[in-house]
């Protein structure tokens, strides 16, 4: 089953670029014989390029030329051009790109209303073409940021389109949320306008905050430089590293952070691509982690962040990996799931980990976690045999937890600060199709969502009254 990533906007494409690079690295490590297999086919087509770029797809046999199943969309050319000139240039062809020159000016309305309208047909056509090459399309991934104009506006426009054109295909969105110190003044507007779309049209959203990525990068940096590790770290194992991938040039500042997000997506899809004793597909993630349609925001954490190169140093205890997954500093947003309320939790383990390790750690960690009354013992677990590059095992935790609430509350507060003063509003309202009601509806949607989390939080720690069972006449 195929997953189709869409990178929209500058941030989306930078992350996307790291994703494709690391995906190739991962498959190269596993696929020693160069045979085009089921695992590869979920992200890549195999094209016979001997007669040129428009050769037919080869479904079996040796790898000829791998092409990413993707759409790269940006309203500026900078990032996409760089990708097309870089080491990944052969992985994409022009039919997968949609670009323009002037950008969206950090304006959601420009991205959503103007470019959306302008490029709708183009996007749908390219989307259909890409989907045609897929044997079984299971899931779309949108990778974008919330704070700008293209990723945020056009990205959510694409989300709507996907729902209309392919209503049965799951829509997962990886959204980078702006921080308080974001240098784009209008990022709260863009984010809240985009949130309404995510609320209504996404199946699952994985929010990411730059601060968290930054802290993880720093933490690793400090660990390496402090000498505390005692021996060198395996470069390829760093969750922030591009080592072993096609990118050999000097890493750019955001690369480390973007690699984390790329690794998130690789781990999320690992069990759908590779075999294991308890498979976990993407549709299962949506099924188990979304108890009510609008509560589909999942906090993610990845461990371990690195492995040691020295084989004589005993690998960090497996159990430590599980503990770390629940710690504040491994979450990809600024949140502390341990002190909030879990609606659902998924653990996707990769590598040499068995069901007894899972069970032992669930039993160990359960008492310190708060689960909602109607899902006291609900865990979704997956075991994939293939570990990530450089690791013997790894864990991705996905939590549907009320700890997302503060992120949304802060976003709303920043929005209201601007909106009360009507600051910069005219940039939006002058766009065709934008009215004041777009703003009020968007913030209302966000408020409703926050309220749903509030109601759930209110039940935390309260008395547990099990509903009485059906009575049967004896």
């Amino acid at each position: 089953a195929v997953s189709l990533p869409f990178a929209v906007g500058q941030c989306g494409n930078q992350v996307g670029c790291r994703f494709w690079d690391l995906a190739l690295r991962e498959h190269a490590a596993v696929n020693k014989k160069g045979i085009y297999d089921e695992a590869l086919s979920s992200f890549f087509r195999n094209v016979d390029t001997r007669t040129g770029d428009n050769g037919p797809d080869i479904y079996k046999g040796k790898i000829c030329s791998l092409k990413a199943r993707a759409l790269l969309i940006d309203m500026e050319e900078g990032v996409v051009n760089e990708i097309l000139q870089g080491p990944l240039r052969d992985v994409f062809d022009s039919k997968q790109l949609i670009t323009d020159v002037s950008g969206s000016g950090n304006n959601w309305a420009v991205g959503h209303k103007i470019y959306g309208c302008q490029y709708q047909e183009n996007i749908v056509e390219k989307l259909r073409k890409t989907a045609e090459h897929c044997d079984c399309l299971q899931c779309f991934f949108i990778i974008h940021s919330m704070g700008g104009g293209t990723g945020s506006g056009l990205g959510t426009f694409v989300l709507n389109l996907l729902e209309e054109e392919f209503p049965e295909v799951y829509r997962f969105v990886t959204s980078v949320y702006p921080s308080g110190e974001d240098d784009v003044i209008t990022s709260p507007y863009n984010s809240v306008l985009a949130m309404k779309e995510l609320n209504e049209h996404a199946d699952c959203v994985l929010p990411i905050e730059n601060e968290s990525l930054f802290e993880i990068v720093n933490k690793i940096h400090q660990m390496i430089n402090s000498g505390k590790l005692g021996s060198a770290v395996k470069q390829s194992s760093l969750v922030t590293s591009s080592a072993g991938s096609a990118k050999t040039l000097q890493e750019k500042p955001f690369d480390a952070m973007n690699n984390i997000v790329a690794n998130l997506l690789l781990n999320l899809t690992s069990s759908a691509r590779f075999e294991g004793s308890l498979n976990m597909d993407l549709n299962e993630i949506s099924m188990n982690l979304v108890p009510f349609p609008r509560l589909h925001y999942l906090v993610s954490s990845l461990t371990p962040l690195y492995t040691l190169a020295d084989v004589n140093v005993p690998s960090r205890r497996l159990d430590q990996m599980f503990s770390d997954a629940f710690s504040r500093d491994h979450q990809l947003i600024q949140a502390d799931p341990k002190h909030s309320l879990y609606l659902a939790c998924a653990l996707l383990v990769r590598g040499n980990v068995q069901v007894s390790d899972l069970r032992r750690n669930i039993e160990r960690l359960k008492p310190s976690l708060h689960f909602v009354s109607w899902n006291q013992e609900g865990w979704k677990t997956g075991l994939c045999s293939v570990p990530p590059v450089g690791h013997s095992h790894s864990l991705l935790a996905l939590a549907n937890n009320t700890c997302v609430k503060p992120t949304f509350i802060e976003l709303k507060d920043r929005f209201m600060k601007l909106y009360k003063k009507k600051a910069h509003l005219h940039h939006y309202l002058q766009i065709d199709g934008m009215e004041q009601s777009c703003f009020s509806e968007a913030v209302s949607s966000l408020s409703d969502l926050i309220e749903e989390y509030n109601e759930l939080d209110a039940t935390k720690g309260g008395p547990r009254i099990d509903p009485s069972r059906l009575k049967i006449a004896v």
């Binding site: 079984c136 004793s277 299962e284 009510f292 013992e377 609900g378 865990w379 069972r469 009575k471």
Partner: protein, 450 residues
């Protein structure tokens, strides 16, 4: 008579593979502790039941493999072929690409009708290869989406297409603390539907088998493969050829019928629990000896006290005073009342075993005479390298507490309406859930009031 096995979903296919492996390695082994002639007769009987012969000489499992995603079937087929000792028919499988998403409604209402024809064609082909069809054995978990939902649908199709054949569903109950968050919904939907089309449900609980792996098999890092191998051993102990009570000198020719007819006298009571002793690591087998009286004593107490295995048995539990008719509400709380039991003994000196303790009327309800409620099969040919092996298939209150727990958790979640939208979008409505809860509360009530 031959049994056609239908392996459904990841769990069903993984276990099916281990089961055929065990059956095959048992018949190839030389640990039968019997004459060559006896051994050959055993081999022939097993092959007739579970395998068909191909020109190449490699036995081909009488099985249909079904899954909604390709990876597991692909692995299962190649592992079997690699063994060199048996294999699956390379055409006898059906799979799709996208899976069922742990959604019972998707398995039952979408995949079921869509793929009914293709799947039933494969089943029909296997059934036709049998000289005499002895019935169907389906293997599935009830926690996921394919084994559970599609499995329930396929069972119904089997019932419609083969109204007079025996259908036994092997159902795996998931770990209590979750492999799948919606597992209790999927379980309730599966069990209630199977109750209407299946002849009986033979149950294995992951929690129980896990304990056996940890405490008896001494496995440190228990994998699903370990769990599945214990399950396969227990299945083999039931399904390998046996001499039934009145069977004469040959092996029984109607395995499912012989199993189901005495154990399921009443349609309201279809849940069968399975216990097998002794269980130990293969490396310990040569150093262990057991006596039949010891094994029988343990097995009986396992039955009475609803123990999960031969360690940690509660010896305090006693049957109610024989002879007095006690209303169910006054019976000792932890005592397990049986409707019917079957004990299967294999190995050395089997004919010397006294099973009188299992015929104690105080173990049973009053509907059947103890002679009818209790059956025993004794087979001298040893199984799977165990010098002595005793299995108990029991229609009793073994599964009452686990069933009640699952229904309770499902009801708790249902009351909050959590996850219901995932089912309604595929056509399973709240009313359908309520019907299923009603069916199962009825089953719980029936078993409670034994």
């Amino acid at each position: 008579m031959s049994i056609v096995t239908v392996q459904l979903g990841q769990c069903g296919n993984q276990i099916g593979h281990e089961m055929f492996s065990v059956l095959c390695s048992d018949i190839r082994g030389t640990h039968g502790l019997c004459s060559k002639k006896e051994n050959e007769s055993y081999q022939d009987s097993c092959k007739e039941r579970f395998f068909c012969q191909e020109e190449s000489g490699v036995p081909v499992a009488r099985a249909v493999l079904v899954d909604m995603e390709p990876k597991v079937i692909s692995q299962t087929l190649s592992m079997a072929a690699r063994s060199g000792h048996w294999k699956y028919n390379s055409h006898s499988h059906f799979c799709q690409k996208q899976g069922s998403g742990n959604n019972w409604a998707n398995g039952y209402s979408v995949h079921g009708p869509r793929h009914k024809e293709a799947i039933m064609n494969l089943v029909q082909k296997e059934a036709e290869k049998c000289d005499r069809l002895g019935g169907f054995f389906t293997i599935m978990s009830m926690a996921g989406g394919t084994g559970s939902g599609l499995g329930a649908f396929v069972t119904q199709c089997l019932r419609d297409a083969f109204p007079t054949s025996f259908i036994l569903n092997h159902v795996i109950w998931p770990y209590g603390t979750g492999e799948v968050i919606v597992q209790n919904y999927n379980s309730v939907l599966t069990l209630s539907h199977l109750y209407h089309s299946s002849d009986a449900l033979l149950v294995h609980e992951n929690d129980v088998i896990h304990k056996i792996c940890a405490q008896l098999m001494n496995i440190k890092q228990i994998s699903f493969r370990d769990v599945n191998q214990v399950i396969a051993h227990q299945l083999g102990s039931v399904f390998q050829p046996t001499h039934t009570a009145g069977g004469g000198s040959g092996y029984s020719r109607n395995p499912l019928g012989d199993l189901l007819e005495p154990l399921v006298p009443h349609p309201e009571f279809r849940m069968l629990g399975l216990r097998n002793i002794p269980q130990m690591p293969e490396s310990s087998l040569p150093y262990s000896t057991f006596s039949w009286p010891g094994l029988i004593k343990h097995l009986r107490q396992i039955l009475i006290a609803k123990a999960q295995m031969e360690e940690g048995i509660d010896w305090q539990v006693r049957p109610p005073h024989p002879g007095s008719s006690i209303p169910s509400t006054n019976k000792p709380l932890h005592f397990n009342t049986s409707i019917a039991n079957l004990v299967i003994l294999r190995g050395k000196d089997v004919h010397s075993v006294d099973l009188g303790s299992f015929q104690d009327p105080s173990l049973y309800t009053s509907w059947l005479s103890p002679q009818d409620a209790f059956n025993a099969w004794k087979t001298p040919r040893a199984f799977n390298k165990y010098e002595k092996s005793a299995s108990l298939v029991s229609n009793s209150q073994f599964l009452l507490k686990p069933l009640d727990s699952i229904v309770g958790k499902a009801w708790n979640m249902f009351a909050s309406k959590a996850y219901l939208h995932q089912y309604t979008k595929f056509g399973i409505q709240e009313e359908d859930f309520l019907d299923c809860f009603t069916t199962l509360e009825q089953v719980i009530s029936s078993y409670t009031n034994l």
